[in-house]
């Protein structure tokens, strides 16, 4: 194989891996949209919040220490050596579930029957709120997150791929981050678990019923409020997973919340209601973005990653407004 082709494969694989990360965020969006018709703009901030909380618990930070210090003139930072990773993850999950419950009680419950676009804007408000809240609670400095996942390039893969190139070529093998490989495995497990859950459990069936028709679900005795808490909890869990993966990769900081924006083109491509759509859409965007950066980027001065995905999604949308896996829209009056 020629070096160029090997480079192409490397970019392609890295694109797929990046795509998996996008899918993880997109998945959270899809879950909530399916069950409640809410386009949750705060999904990315939820991931950030989860990651912040996890790091805070892991390192034994005192929550709101900055605020407390500011008010009482004290100087407190840590309460101890911190929690073991496993316990910290579990506690963070509890926090996310509590968050879902509070959200249902204080926000969603009061916005029932509002137009979708009002709900959308409410989640933008939520994103701001959570961002401020998270920073206030744990501080806004960049933190490193280490939950013990292997990271760094995979030497084994490098060695294998080096042999594919011609003998005389100046080729050092493909670089693939071990973290990305774990992310892929985790994403596969997560999606499988979610599909099993929604197919084979009573709660899952109720979720699908609500997704299909709120009124009908209510009339057969499904509690909408309970379902919403469950869905937002699951979305919180997905956010936690995404937060761990993204946080381990690039540190826990404000820009983490911007990955939510990366997930939007994925959703457009895959459709707002399709879990396979979120996965495939994520892969397409990931690959497309990396290829474009490598091959089109140099022609126009680079850094096109920020908007390229949107343009792809948009072009796609113009020809197929319902997304890859959506049903054809028949308008009625």
């Amino acid at each position: 194989m020629s070096t160029q082709f090997l480079n192409f494969i490397e970019i392609f694989i890295n694109g797929l891996m990046a795509g998996i990360m996008y899918s993880l965020v997109a998945l959270g969006f899809v879950l909530i949209f399916k069950a409640s018709g809410i386009f949750n703009f705060a999904q990315g901030v939820m991931a950030l919040f989860a990651a912040l909380t996890l790091v805070g618990l892991q390192t034994g930070q005192v929550p709101f220490s900055h605020l407390i210090n500011a008010i009482f003139g004290t100087d407190i930072h840590d309460w101890g050596p911190g929690l073991p990773t496993f316990l910290a993850i579990l506690l963070t999950l509890v926090v996310m579930i509590a968050l879902a419950w509070l959200l249902e009680k204080f926000v969603l419950n009061h916005l029932i029957n509002q137009e979708p676009i009002i709900l959308f804007m409410a989640t933008i408000g939520l994103a701001y709120f959570l961002e401020g809240f998270g920073d206030l609670m744990w501080g806004s400095d960049v933190k490193t997150l280490d939950v013990g996942l292997p990271s760094g390039g995979s030497f084994w893969w490098e060695d294998v791929t080096r042999t594919w190139a011609p003998e005389d070529a100046d080729y050092w093998g493909m670089y693939i981050d071990k973290l990305d490989i774990s992310a892929t495995i985790i994403a596969v497990i997560l999606v499988t678990a979610l599909s099993l859950f929604s197919q084979y459990t009573a709660t899952g069936r109720a979720l699908r019923a609500v997704a299909d028709d709120h009124q009908a679900a209510l009339s057969v005795g499904i509690s909408l409020r309970k379902i919403w808490v469950i869905v937002w909890s699951i979305a919180g869990f997905v956010a936690l997973v995404a937060g761990i993966m993204w946080g381990s990769k690039s540190g826990v900081q404000f820009s983490l919340s911007l990955i939510a924006l990366k997930a939007l083109p994925v959703l457009i491509l895959g459709g707002f209601t399709s879990i396979p759509g979120a996965i495939v859409g994520g892969l397409i965007i990931g690959v497309g973005e990396k290829l474009a950066e490598a091959y089109i980027g140099p022609m126009v001065g680079g850094a096109i990653e920020n908007w390229f995905a949107y343009v792809v999604a948009l072009a796609f949308l113009l020809f197929r407004p319902q997304g890859l896996f959506g049903d054809r829209i028949i308008e009625r009056i």
């Binding site: 008010i71 804007m121 408000g125 709120f129 401020g132 949107y310």
Partner: protein
Amino acid sequence: MLYREAGDFKTTYRADEQTFPIRSERWLFWTVMVLAFAVVPFFINDYWNKAVLVPFLVWALAALGLNILTGYCGQVSLGTGGFMAVGAFACYKIMTAFPDLNMFIVVVLSGFVTAGVGILFGLPSLRIKGFYLAVATLAAQFFLIWVFNKFPWFYNYSASGQITAPERTILGIAVTGPNSLPWATYLFCLAIVFVFAWVARNLTRGRMGRSWMAIRDMDIAAEIIGVSPLRAKLSAFAVSSFYIGMAGALFFSVYLGAAEVTEAFGIDKSFLALFMVIIGGLGSILGSFLGAGFLVLLPVLFKNIMVNQFGWPTDVAAHLQIMLIGGLIIFFLIVEPHGLAQLWRLTKEKLRLWPFPY
């Protein structure tokens, strides 16, 4: 008893369709205008000008623009920051290419340039709706910022990548640049905002406004009774971008003086404008002003109380502020989705009946 409707009869349709149908309201409006034009300029100082009045006027103009698109035509846009950048860079290019051009004309021309760009990015709205469109406008935001970053022609090949507003005068008085006086910049912005708020009122009260609102309320029915979605949506995008472009031009040339595109016109500006429109009131001219005033004053107030009074670190204050703004957005959407403007309307209704409850 000051505010009443009784005895205020209308005998023509023209009288019935005026902006302030009630006499005391007209009085209130013109009093405020006289204060703004003839009294404030004598008392204005640099702090009030830079921290409150000019940003208020500029953001009111931007909110007005976004309100036309989102509040009147129902198309949610997250690209306000990007369109403001178009206005700013158009303003910069025109200012430097034609140094003798009157600043009023420069600002209006910047608006027209932005309107053109707005139409271009409004095209997807003909095929897609709702969230999908919101995402499409995000594409505009990122793409535009990238363009202004990547192509040095836009910032005249300056080494820092910044654009800096040169000094321009109106009747010999500087309104941009470091030598401009507070009252001059204030009156310059006020004049533009006054004229175009009036234009916005005219556009929204007549045929065009009704075609926008028809698309907003029920697009299919609107099309069936004869509203062309193409013309309604694209005109909304054009007019909206025109306003936002002018706001961007003023934001850069009068308020900032020098700007770096990613920092000055990032996505947070898009959200800020959207919040102003929500808090102020979707589909209300007055609401755009109330929302802008609220969100311009809030941080000033916060900073004064928390940092200057309590001596808290600025980052804690900033976090609290973000949190509170987010909370307020949710609060308003729950309690009063039509914003401050609706609260004002309700107050008026109560006043009209006062002292009786019904």
